[in-house]
C-alpha cells in the first residue's frame, strides 16, 4: 500500500474535500462586483482542483488494485486497509468495552463506486459553473457532500458508515433548498425526511447488531460465529432477523429508490440544480444498492434467501412502473424533461435490484456494472438537460424542436447518452443490462421476461424525447442566438466548460460498451466470494 505523508490513499481521497472546504472558507467572498467575480472563480477552480486530485488518487488506487483479492468478509482480501482505534471506553455498564475504529478499506464492490464518485464529482463541478448566488456556500456544501459520499464507500465500520451516510443529508438538503427551482423547499424537506426515516431504522438495526457482535466492525457482523447466542439477532432465520433485514431494506430502498419509496426522487431531481441532479443520480442512488451489497446481503444471508423473490418483484415493479411513469411524462403534467429522466432512473435502478436478487455471478456483476453505468449515463442526461436549461430556463419536452441544426455537437453527445440509456449494443448500458438478464433469467425466468418489456418502453420514451427536442422544426423564438449580447455564450453550441464535463463521460460510456473488462474485472472475485458467502448462509437457513 502506498502512502502520502503517512496517510493512506483512502483517508486521503475521503478527506481531501475537507482541505478544499477550509481553503474556500478562508477566502472572503468580496464586496464589490470585481472582487466577487474573482473570488467566485477561485471557489470554482479550487473545487475543480480538489476533485481532480481525488480523481487522480482514484486512478492510482485503480492501477494498484489487486484483482485477485476477494474482500467482502475477509480482512485479508480488503485493500488499502487503514484501522485506527477511534473511541475506546472500557467497562461500560451493559455495553462492555466500547470500541469504535476508524476502519476503511475497499474490495471489488466498493472500488468501482470510488472511481464513479471521483469521476462524477469532478465533472459535476463543471456543471456547477452556472451557479450564481452564494457561490461560496455552494461549493462548501458541494465538497461536504463529496466527503460524505466517499466516506460511505470506504467505511468498513458500521458506525463510521452511518456517520458518513447521515453527513450527506444536510449538504444535499441545502443544495436543493437554496439553489433549487421553484418548489425547492418542498423537494428538499421531502428528501430529508424520507431519507432520515429510512436511516433511523438502519440506526436501530446497527445498535442491535452491535449488541449481538460487540463491535461495530462490519466484517465481524458478517460472521455468524461472532454473534452472542443470547442476543436478539443471533441464530438463523429467526423472526427478528427478518424484521431487522426488513428495516435495513427500507432504509436502503428509500435511497435507491424503489417503488413504493420513490416519490421523493422526481421532486428532488426536478428542483435540484443541474450539478446536484448529476450527483444525486450519479452517486447518491447507488448508496442504497451499495448498502444492500455491503450490509444486508452478507449480514443477513438467510433473510436474503427468504425474501429473494420479493426483492426481485420489487425490482421488476420498479422497472415497469418507472418506465411507464417516464413514458407518461410525454402526455401528462408539465412534460418535464428532468422528471422523465428521474423516472427512468427508478426503472434503471430496478434492474440493479433484479440483478442483485438473482444471486449468481452474471446477475450480481451486471448489477454493480449497471450501478456504474447508470451513474455515468444519467449524469450525462442531466447535464444535457442542464445545457438547454441554462440557456433558456426551460426544459419542457414541448418547448424545443430542431435543436440538431442549431447545436450539432450537443446533439452528437446527446445521442451517445440517449442510446446508452436505451441500451443500444456497443454502449455500456447494453452490457450491464444483458448481464442482468442473463443472471436473472436463471433464477426468475418469468419476471425477467416481463422486465424485458421495459426496454421497449425505454426506447419509446427516449426516442420520443429525442424526436421532440432535437428533430423537427426549430420554434421561431429560438431562431436567434441564445445570447444576443455574446457575453455569456459566444456561440450557440456547447462551450468549453460543458464539453469538459460531457466528453469524458461519453468516452467512458463508449469505451466500456466495447470493453467492459476494466470495470467488471475489478469486481468478479469479490462478487463470487459474496455469492458464496450468501449461499452458504442461505443454505444453512434452508436446511433448517
Amino acid at each position: 500500500m502506498f502512502e502520502i505523508f503517512g496517510v493512506g490513499p483512502l483517508t486521503l481521497i475521503t478527506f481531501l474535500p475537507m482541505l478544499g472546504i477550509i481553503l474556500i472558507l478562508l477566502i472572503p467572498a468580496g464586496k464589490d462586483e470585481q472582487s466577487k467575480k474573482a473570488s467566485t472563480n477561485i471557489y470554482r477552480w479550487a473545487t475543480v482542483f480538489f476533485t481532480f486530485l481525488q480523481l487522480v488518487i482514484a486512478v492510482v488506487i485503480y492501477i494498484n488494485f489487486d484483482l485477485s483479492l476477494t474482500g467482502v468478509n475477509d480482512i485479508n482480501g480488503m485493500q488499502f486497509v487503514e484501522k485506527v482505534r477511534w473511541i475506546e471506553v472500557e467497562g461500560l455498564p451493559m455495553l462492555g468495552d466500547l470500541r469504535i475504529d476508524y476502519f476503511v478499506g475497499i474490495d471489488g464492490i466498493s472500488a468501482p463506486m470510488i472511481l464513479l464518485t471521483a469521476i462524477i464529482c469532478f465533472v459535476a463541478t463543471f456543471a456547477s459553473w452556472s451557479i450564481g448566488k452564494a457561490v461560496k456556500g455552494y461549493f462548501i456544501m458541494y465538497l461536504l457532500l463529496d466527503l460524505g459520499m466517499m466516506g460511505v464507500f470506504v467505511s468498513l465500520d458500521f458506525f463510521l458508515f452511518y456517520l458518513f451516510w447521515e453527513l450527506m443529508l444536510l449538504p444535499m438538503y441545502f443544495l436543493i433548498g437554496i439553489w433549487g427551482g421553484p418548489r425547492k423547499e418542498y423537494a428538499a424537506i421531502k428528501f430529508f425526511i424520507y431519507t432520515l426515516f429510512g436511516s433511523l431504522f438502519m440506526l436501530l438495526v446497527m445498535i442491535a447488531l452491535y449488541f449481538a457482535v460487540g463491535s461495530f466492525n462490519m466484517l465481524d457482523m458478517m460472521d455468524p460465529s461472532k454473534y452472542d447466542p443470547g442476543s436478539l439477532l443471533s441464530g438463523i432465520g429467526t423472526t427478528w432477523r427478518y424484521i431487522a433485514f426488513g428495516a435495513l431494506f427500507i432504509g436502503f430502498a428509500i435511497k435507491v429508490p424503489t417503488v413504493p419509496f420513490h416519490t421523493w426522487l422526481p421532486d428532488a431531481h426536478v428542483e435540484a440544480p443541474t450539478a446536484i441532479s448529476v450527483i444525486l443520480a450519479g452517486v447518491l442512488l447507488k448508496m442504497g444498492t451499495y448498502g444492500m451489497l455491503r450490509i444486508s446481503w452478507p449480514m443477513f444471508p438467510d433473510a436474503v434467501y427468504y425474501f429473494q423473490w420479493y426483492i426481485a418483484l420489487i425490482g421488476v415493479v420498479s422497472i415497469i412502473y418507472g418506465a411507464f411513469c417516464a413514458l407518461g411524462q410525454h402526455k401528462v403534467g408539465k412534460r418535464d424533461f428532468k422528471k422523465l429522466i428521474a423516472y427512468s432512473s427508478v426503472s434503471h435502478m430496478g434492474f440493479v435490484m433484479l440483478g442483485m436478487a438473482a444471486m449468481n455471478t452474471e446477475g450480481m456483476v451486471g448489477a454493480i456494472f449497471q450501478m456504474f453505468n447508470h451513474g455515468t449515463i444519467t449524469a450525462m442526461l442531466f447535464m444535457i438537460v442542464g445545457v438547454v436549461y441554462d440557456r433558456t430556463h426551460l426544459r419542457g419536452l414541448d418547448d424545443f424542436g430542431g435543436l440538431a441544426n442549431k447545436m450539432p455537437i450537443y446533439t452528437g453527445v446527446m445521442m451517445i447518452a440517449f442510446f446508452a440509456a436505451i441500451g443500444l449494443p456497443g454502449l455500456s448500458g447494453f452490457i450491464s443490462e444483458v448481464l442482468i438478464f442473463l443472471g436473472a433469467f436463471q433464477t426468475f425466468p418469468v419476471m425477467t421476461a416481463i422486465s424485458a418489456f421495459a426496454i421497449v418502453i425505454g426506447a419509446a420514451y427516449m426516442l420520443w424525447a429525442l424526436q421532440k427536442i432535437f428533430f423537427g422544426k426549430l420554434p421561431d423564438r429560438w431562431k436567434g442566438p441564445w445570447d444576443p449580447t455574446g457575453t455569456k455564450y459566444k456561440h450557440d453550441d456547447l462551450n468549453g466548460i460543458e464539453l469538459t464535463a460531457l466528453v469524458p463521460l461519453a468516452v467512458i460510456v463508449i469505451y466500456l460498451g466495447i470493453n467492459p473488462n476494466p470495470i467488471t474485472g475489478m469486481m468478479t472475485s469479490s462478487v463470487n466470494h459474496l455469492i458464496e458467502l450468501v449461499k452458504a448462509g442461505g443454505q444453512v437457513a434452508a436446511g433448517m
Partner: protein, 502 residues
C-alpha cells in the same frame, strides 16, 4: 424525628465539609445581594460576582469527585450521580449568566439587573439541594427554593406584559403541582412512617402495604416531578412561560431546572421503589409490584409525541423550542424507563449534550432578538445571509437537537436508543425513532427560513460583539467536537453511574 447521636458534632463537621459547593453558592448569593445594595449603579457587578462564585463552586465540586456519603442526618446524599447533575446545573447556570451580559431585553426593559443574578444563584442553590436530596421534606424544600426564584425570574422583565402573564401562569401551575406532590408525600409518610427514601425502601421491602394508596402517592409525587421536567400532561405551562420569560431564563428553565427534576426523579424511583438487592438487569422488579416501568414508558411516549407534534405548528421560535424541550423530556424519560446502569448513563450523556445544544439554540434566539426584536419564525427569513455565523451555529444546534451525526446530540440519542433496545423494549425505540423524524421537520423550518427564504433583496449584514461570538463558539464547537470524539464525556457519565449503584 432526628435522633441526636453522641458524635453529632463530628457528623456535622463532616457534613459541612461536603456541603462546600452549596456554601460557596450561598455566600455568593449574600455577597451579590449586599453588593447590589451598595453599587446600585453598576449593571454588571453582581453578574461578575455570580459568575466568579459559580466558578469557585465548580472547583469545590471537582474536589468532591468520587465521594459518597450521607450528610446532615441523611437529609442529603453526596455521590457521583448528584455530582454530575450539579455540574450540569452549575455549567448551564454559568452559561446563562454569561448569556445575560449580552441580553438586550434584560438591560433595556428593567431598572436593574442586580436581583436577576442573585435570583439565578438562589435558583441554583435550590437545584443543587434537589439533586442530592434523599428525604421527602428536603425534596419539597429544594423544589420550593428553586421554584420561587424561577417564578420571579420568569416575570423579571415586568414591563413586558407577556412576561408577567408567564410568571403568573408559572406560579399557579407550580403551586397546584407542588400541592399535589406534598399530598402524595404525606400519604407515603402515612404508609411507611418515614420520610427518608432509603428507609421507605427498607420498610416497603419488609412490610406488606396497601397497594392503592401506595400507587396513588407514587403517582402524585411523580406529578410534581413531571411538572418540573415538563412531561405531558403537566406541560401546559411550558410554552407560555418560555415564550414570555426572558430568553436567558427560558434557557435556564429548559436545561438546569429540567436537570434537577430528572435527578430527583431518578433518585426517588431508584431509592424508594426499587429493590437494591436485585441485579440491575431486573431493576424494575420493584418491591411494590406496581408496573412503574409501564407507567414511565407511557409517560415517555406521550411526552415526546405530543411535544413533537405540537411543535410542528409553532410560528414562534421560543415556543417551538419549548415544545422541543418537552419532546426531549420524553426522550430522556426513555432512559428512565430502562433504569439500569446503561439507561442512567444514557440519560447523563444525553443531558450533557442537551445542555450544550439547547443553550446554544436559545442563545442564538437571544442574539437575533437583540437585533430584530422578534422571535417569530417569519422574521428569521434571510438571516443565514445577513448573519452567516449565527446561521451556521443555529443549524449545528438544531441538527444536534434532531440527533443527526456528526453532532453530540446524535451520540446522546444513540445511547438512549441503545439502552432501550438492550432492555428489549423495541416498540419504544421505534416510537422514539419516528419522533425524531417528526422533529426534523420543525427544526428544519428554522434553518429553512434562515437560508431558503428572504434572500432577495439581501438584508443588511448584522454585526455582533466579539464577546458574544466567543460564547457562541464555546457552545457550537463542543456540539460538533463531542459528536466525533465523545470518549471523555462517556467515561465521565460511566463513572458517575457506577458508584451511584455500587
Amino acid at each position: 424525628m432526628f435522633s441526636v447521636e453522641a458524635n453529632f458534632l463530628d457528623q456535622l463537621k463532616d457534613s459541612i465539609g461536603l456541603f462546600l459547593p452549596e456554601t460557596v453558592l450561598i455566600a455568593t448569593f449574600l455577597l451579590s445581594l449586599i453588593l447590589d445594595l451598595i453599587f446600585r449603579k453598576s449593571r454588571t457587578l453582581t453578574g461578575i460576582v455570580t459568575a466568579i462564585g459559580f466558578v469557585v463552586a465548580g472547583i469545590c465540586l471537582i474536589g468532591q469527585t468520587g465521594e459518597t456519603a450521607f450528610i446532615f442526618s441523611r437529609m442529603l446524599v453526596v455521590d457521583p450521580f448528584a455530582l454530575f447533575f450539579k455540574f450540569v446545573i452549575l455549567l448551564s447556570g454559568l452559561i446563562v449568566v454569561l448569556m445575560s451580559f449580552f441580553s438586550k431585553e434584560l438591560y433595556e426593559t428593567t431598572e436593574g439587573v442586580g436581583e436577576y443574578f442573585t435570583l439565578i444563584t438562589g435558583m441554583t442553590i435550590g437545584m443543587f439541594l434537589l439533586a442530592s436530596a434523599s428525604n421527602l421534606i428536603m425534596i419539597y424544600l429544594a423544589i420550593e427554593t428553586m421554584s420561587i426564584s424561577s417564578y420571579i425570574l420568569a416575570g423579571y422583565t415586568k414591563e413586558i406584559r407577556r412576561a408577567s402573564e408567564a410568571s403568573l401562569k408559572y406560579v399557579i401551575f407550580g403551586a397546584v403541582s407542588s400541592g399535589i406532590m406534598i399530598y402524595g408525600m404525606s400519604i407515603l409518610f402515612g404508609l411507611t412512617g418515614t420520610l427518608n427514601l432509603f428507609d421507605i425502601n427498607t420498610f416497603l421491602l419488609s412490610n406488606e402495604v396497601n397497594m392503592v394508596p401506595l400507587m396513588l402517592s407514587g403517582l402524585m409525587i411523580l406529578a410534581g416531578f413531571a411538572y418540573k421536567i415538563s412531561a405531558v400532561p403537566f406541560h401546559f405551562w411550558t410554552p407560555d412561560v418560555y415564550e414570555g420569560a426572558p430568553v436567558t431564563i427560558s434557557a435556564l428553565l429548559s436545561v438546569a431546572s429540567k436537570a434537577a427534576g430528572f435527578a430527583v426523579l431518578i433518585r426517588f424511583l431508584k431509592s424508594a421503589f426499587i429493590d437494591p438487592t436485585l441485579s440491575s438487569d431486573v431493576a424494575w422488579n420493584t418491591i411494590s409490584s406496581i408496573d412503574w416501568q409501564y407507567i414511565i414508558a407511557i409517560l415517555a411516549v406521550v411526552t415526546m409525541t405530543v411535544g413533537n407534534l405540537v411543535a410542528v405548528w409553532q410560528t414562534n421560535v421560543k415556543r417551538l423550542l419549548a415544545y422541543s424541550s418537552i419532546a426531549h423530556a420524553g426522550y430522556l424519560l426513555m432512559g428512565v424507563v430502562v433504569m439500569n446502569e446503561i439507561g442512567i448513563a444514557a440519560i447523563l450523556l444525553y443531558f450533557f449534550a442537551y445542555m450544550i445544544m439547547n443553550l446554544g439554540a436559545f442563545y442564538v434566539v437571544m442574539l437575533i432578538a437583540n437585533k430584530t426584536g422578534s422571535e417569530e419564525l417569519d422574521d428569521y427569513q434571510g438571516l443565514g445571509h445577513s448573519a452567516p455565523v449565527l446561521g451556521v451555529c443555529m443549524t449545528i444546534f438544531l441538527i444536534s437537537l434532531t440527533g443527526l451525526p456528526p453532532t453530540f446530540g446524535f451520540i446522546g440519542k444513540l445511547y438512549i436508543f441503545s439502552a432501550v433496545l438492550d432492555s428489549g423494549l423495541i416498540w419504544l425505540a421505534v416510537v422514539g425513532v419516528l419522533n425524531s423524524v417528526v422533529s426534523l421537520y420543525y427544526y428544519a423550518k428554522v434553518f429553512r427560513n434562515m437560508y431558503f427564504r428572504g434572500m432577495d433583496p439581501p438584508k443588511e449584514p448584522m454585526t455582533f460583539s466579539y464577546g458574544s461570538m466567543i460564547l457562541l463558539f464555546l457552545l457550537a464547537i463542543p456540539t460538533v467536537l463531542f459528536g466525533v470524539y465523545f470518549t471523555p464525556i462517556l467515561a465521565w457519565a460511566k463513572s458517575s453511574v457506577e458508584i451511584f449503584f455500587g
